[in-house]
C-alpha cells in the first residue's frame, strides 16, 4: 500500500489573513470588465452574426426570375443519411412557356426537421443548385407535424439566390438562334 504523506500547510501571513488584497484584485477585474466591449448577446432579441458557410435549415431556392430550380431528381432524398427528405415528383405542364424545356418539378417536397441532422449532403449532391442549408438555425413548433417543412415553407425559407446558369433561358436561346430541330 502506498504511503500517505502528510504535507504541512504554511501559516497565512497577516495580509492574507485580512483577505483585503484578494478582494481588491477581484474588484479590479470586475470593474475593468465594465469598460471592455460586451461579449454576450441578448438572445433571442439579438441574433449572432452567422458565418457564410454555416449549415442551417435546408431550404429550397428560386432563381432570380422566380422559377423553381428543383427538378425533383430525388438525389437529396437518396443521399440523406437520416431519410428526412421525401419528394413526390411531378410534371411541368407543356403550356408553361416559362419553363418549357424542363419537364419535371416536385409536386410535394417534405423535409422532416425532426430527422434532419444538418449534414449538408443534400446541398452537396443537388445537380440543380436548388437546395441550400442557409443561415436560419432555429426551428421549433408545438407538434411533430409543424416541424415537417412542406414545399411552400421551404421556398419561403429559401427565397431567391443568384443563379449562374439560367438553364431554361440558355436552352430557349439555343432554340431561337437556329439550333432548333
Amino acid at each position: 500500500m502506498a504511503k500517505t504523506v502528510v504535507l504541512e500547510r504554511k501559516p497565512l501571513s497577516l495580509s492574507e489573513r485580512t483577505y483585503l488584497p484578494q478582494i481588491a484584485t477581484g474588484l479590479k477585474t470586475t470593474f475593468s470588465n465594465m469598460f471592455k466591449p460586451k461579449v454576450t448577446l441578448q438572445y433571442p432579441e439579438e441574433k449572432p452574426v452567422i458565418p457564410q458557410n454555416y449549415r442551417g435549415i435546408p431550404t429550397l431556392v428560386k432563381d432570380p426570375n422566380g422559377r423553381e430550380k428543383c427538378v425533383s431528381c430525388q438525389l437529396c432524398e437518396f443521399v440523406c443519411p437520416p431519410k428526412a427528405i421525401r419528394i413526390t415528383p411531378g410534371e411541368v405542364p407543356e403550356e408553361d412557356l416559362d419553363r418549357e424545356h424542363v419537364e419535371k418539378a416536385p409536386q410535394e417536397f417534405e423535409i422532416n426537421m425532426l430527422r434532419c441532422i444538418y449534414c449538408g449532403y443534400c446541398q452537396e449532391v443537388c445537380p440543380e443548385e436548388a437546395i441550400f442549408l442557409q443561415q436560419e438555425y432555429s426551428s421549433s413548433g408545438y407538434s411533430r407535424e409543424e416541424l415537417i417543412n412542406k414545399k411552400d415553407k421551404l421556398y419561403e425559407l429559401g427565397g431567391v439566390l443568384p443563379d449562374k446558369h439560367y438553364k431554361w433561358d440558355k436552352k430557349k436561346k439555343a432554340e431561337l438562334e437556329g439550333n432548333s430541330h
Binding site: 427538378v71 425533383s72 431528381c73 430525388q74 438525389l75 432524398e77 437518396f78 415528383p89 411531378g90 410534371e91 407543356e94 424545356h101 424542363v102 419537364e103 419535371k104 445537380p127 440543380e128 436552352k171 439555343a174 432554340e175 438562334e177 439550333n179 432548333s180 430541330h181
Partner: protein, 567 residues
C-alpha cells in the same frame, strides 16, 4: 438474330487467351461468356443485327494462310502469323470462326470507344436529373466506363422536341435518342407492326411513326425497355420514381397462360412498374402492355380488405371459424380457380377429395395474339390439371354447378375468386345455399356470399404457375399484403383442418410441395419448390395432350402442346 448452333464449340483467342465458345455466336456474346464486356447500343440478342451504333468496335484477325498451298504462314518463332484486319470491326456483326484472334482492350479499341462516346454525347442534353433512364442508362454507364470524362464541344447543342407522343403509352424525347433503331427492329420483328421509322438526315434524324399511324400495339412498352437511353419513356411510369429507389422482385405475369417472366419494381410496399425478365424458353425479353398494368389491381377500389360475415365486417379468424361451421357436414361444392397458384389448387383439391366434394372449375378465354397473350387468360389452368382440381378441360361457365345445385347434390359452396353469377349460375339458386367466398376483389358473388374471406394478390404471396408449355415457374412476394389479410395457403389449410379429421395440414409451401411430389404418378415427382424457384422446370404434359387446349401457335409454343425451342 445470331444464335448458337447446337453443341459445337470453336476455339478462339480472346485478348491473348485461348477460349472455346459455341459455334455461330457473335463476338459480343462470345466475349460476354468469358467475362469481357464489349459495350454496345444497337445490338440486342433477340433482334436482328443492325450494326449502326459502332460502339462494339474491336480488333479482329485470323491466322494467315498461303494462297497457293493453303498452308499456315508461321512467324519466325513458329507461331501462326495473324492477319489483323487493318481497321476495327463491329463485334455484333462478326461471328466467331475457328482460330480467330480478338482484341477487346487494345489502345486502338479504347480510342474507338472514346471517339464514339464523344460523338454520341455531342448533342446529348445531359438532363440526367430529370431522365427516367438515369440509373439504368447505357449512355451513363459507358460514358463513365469508356468516355473521356469531359467535353470538348463548345458549340451550342441542338434543341429537339422533348415530349412527342408516339402512342398511348409511349413518349419520345428526341434529344436523347442515339438512333440505334432497336425500337424499329423490335416493332418489325416481334409484334410485326411496322410503325416506327427514322426520317430526315444528319442531326435532324428523328424517330417517328408512319403518317396516320401510332405506336399502339400491345407490345409497345417493350420498345421502352430495350431503348438503351432515355429516349422512349413509358407514359405510365414517367416521372413517377427514380429507378435506384426500386426494389426488384421476380414474378410471373398472371395475364394469360403464356406466363411471361417479369421483374416487379416496388418501393416501400408500393408497386411502380412491371418489366419483362429474359427467359429464352418462354418470353425472350418481351411482355404485353396489358400485363404491365396488372399491378394496379393491388390498390384497386374493389379490393377486399376485411373479412365479412353476412355483410358485417369481422376478423379473418372469426370468418374462418364461421365458414368451417357452416360448411361442416354439408355436401360441398368446391369452385376452384385457374388463377390460383399450384399450391393453393393442391390444397383445394385435397379439401374436395377429403370431404368428397364436387369440384368445379371455370376457364377464362379471349383472343390469342399468337405472341405472348394466349387465348387462355388464366395463368395456371395446367396447374389445375396437375393438382387434380379438374379432370376435363374447363369451359367458360359453371353450368355444371347450376345443375348440381338444382339436383340437390350440392348444398354449400366454397368459391375461390370466381364470380358465380357471371358464370351462368342463377342467383335464385344460391339464395338458399351458404356460399363462402375467398378472394381479393369484390364481385357479384362476394356481395351475396355468407362469409367473405379476403386473400392476397399474386404480388403479395409466393407460389408457382404452370404455363402453356408446362413450365412450372415460381413467383415471389413483391410487397406485403394488407394488414389482417391471411395468405391463401393459410386460409385453405385452416379450412381443411376444420373440415377434415386428418393429419394437421401445414400451410408451409415447401411441405405442400413435398406432399404434391409424393403423389403417385405425379408429374411433379422429384421436383421441389427450391428447384422451381431457382429456374423454371419443364414438366411432362403428355398425359393431357388429348385435351382441347385453346392456345394457338405462338412464341416458343406449339399448339400440339410441345415446346418450340428456337433452333
Amino acid at each position: 438474330m445470331i444464335s448458337p448452333k447446337n453443341g459445337k464449340v470453336v476455339p478462339i483467342v480472346l485478348d491473348g487467351k485461348d477460349v472455346e465458345v459455341p459455334e455461330g455466336i457473335n463476338l459480343v456474346e462470345a466475349a460476354a461468356l468469358h467475362g469481357k464486356e464489349i459495350p454496345h447500343y444497337c445490338y440486342h440478342p433477340q433482334l436482328s443485327v443492325a450494326g449502326n451504333c459502332r460502339m462494339c468496335l474491336i480488333e479482329m484477325g485470323t491466322p494467315m494462310r498461303d494462297r497457293a498451298t493453303g498452308n499456315s504462314i508461321l512467324e519466325d518463332d513458329g507461331s501462326p502469323k495473324i492477319g489483323w484486319v487493318p481497321k476495327p470491326v463491329i463485334g455484333c456483326a462478326t461471328n466467331v470462326s475457328p482460330g480467330m484472334h480478338v482484341k477487346t482492350e487494345s489502345k486502338n479499341v479504347l480510342d474507338c470507344r472514346e471517339g464514339i462516346m464523344e460523338f454520341l454525347l455531342v448533342n446529348h442534353p445531359l438532363d440526367c436529373p430529370i431522365c427516367d433512364q438515369a440509373g439504368e442508362c447505357r449512355l451513363q454507364e459507358f460514358a463513365t466506363d469508356y468516355g473521356r470524362g469531359y467535353s470538348r464541344y463548345v458549340e451550342r447543342k441542338n434543341v429537339k422536341p422533348k415530349r412527342t407522343r408516339l402512342g398511348p403509352r409511349v413518349t419520345l424525347d428526341d434529344e436523347r435518342c442515339i438512333l440505334c433503331s432497336r425500337c424499329i427492329r423490335f416493332c418489325q420483328e416481334v409484334p410485326k407492326d411496322d410503325v416506327l421509322g427514322f426520317v430526315d438526315r444528319g442531326s435532324f434524324s428523328t424517330l417517328t411513326c408512319f403518317p396516320g399511324r401510332e405506336l399502339d400495339n400491345n407490345y409497345s412498352l417493350n420498345t421502352v425497355d430495350i431503348c438503351p437511353v432515355g429516349a422512349l419513356t413509358s407514359s405510365d411510369f414517367r416521372f413517377k420514381m427514380r429507378v435506384w429507389f426500386l426494389k426488384e422482385s421476380t414474378s410471373i405475369c398472371q395475364e394469360s397462360s403464356a406466363g411471361c417472366n417479369t421483374t416487379v419494381s416496388s418501393r416501400e410496399g408500393e408497386i411502380f412498374r412491371i418489366t419483362p425478365r429474359r427467359n429464352d424458353h418462354v418470353n425472350d425479353s418481351w411482355m404485353t402492355d396489358s400485363g404491365r398494368e396488372l399491378y394496379k389491381s393491388v390498390k384497386s377500389s374493389e379490393r377486399i380488405y376485411s373479412a365479412r360475415i353476412k355483410n358485417d365486417s369481422t376478423t379473418s379468424d372469426a370468418a374462418l371459424l364461421e365458414a368451417i361451421q357452416i360448411l361442416k357436414g354439408k355436401s360441398l361444392g368446391v369452385v376452384g380457380s385457374c388463377k390460383s397458384s399450384l399450391e393453393e389448387q393442391h390444397l383445394l383439391a385435397q379439401i374436395a377429395k377429403k370431404t368428397k366434394a364436387k369440384q368445379f372449375l371455370r376457364g377464362h378465354f379471349g383472343e390469342d395474339d399468337g405472341i405472348l397473350l394466349s387465348a387462355d387468360r388464366t395463368p395456371n389452368l395446367r396447374g389445375a390439371l396437375i393438382t387434380g382440381l379438374t379432370k376435363t378441360y374447363p369451359e367458360d361457365h359453371l353450368s355444371a354447378l347450376s345443375l348440381a345445385i338444382q339436383k340437390k347434390k350440392v348444398n354449400a359452396i366454397i368459391v375461390v375468386g370466381e364470380d358465380l353469377l357471371d358464370s351462368k349460375v342463377d342467383q335464385a339458386l344460391l339464395s338458399n345455399i351458404p356460399v363462402v367466398f375467398i378472394g381479393t376483389h369484390e364481385n357479384k358473388t362476394s356481395r351475396i356470399a355468407k362469409v367473405v374471406i379476403p386473400s392476397l394478390t399474386v404480388f403479395e404471396k409466393s407460389g408457382t404457375f404452370v404455363n402453356r408449355g408446362f413450365f412450372a415457374q415460381a413467383f415471389n412476394q413483391v410487397v406485403p399484403g394488407p394488414a389482417g389479410v391471411l395468405p391463401d395457403l393459410n386460409i385453405l389449410a385452416r379450412i381443411k383442418n376444420g373440415l377434415v379429421e386428418d393429419l394437421e395440414q401445414s400451410a408451409d409451401i415447401n411441405l405442400i410441395w413435398d406432399e404434391m411430389s409424393s403423389v403417385r404418378n405425379s408429374v411433379l415427382k422429384e421436383v421441389s419448390f427450391t428447384q422451381v424457384k431457382k429456374a423454371p422446370v419443364l414438366l411432362n404434359g403428355s398425359k393431357w395432350s388429348d385435351l382441347p387446349f385453346v392456345e394457338k401457335d405462338a412464341l416458343h409454343y406449339q399448339s400440339s402442346g410441345k415446346i418450340r425451342v428456337k433452333g
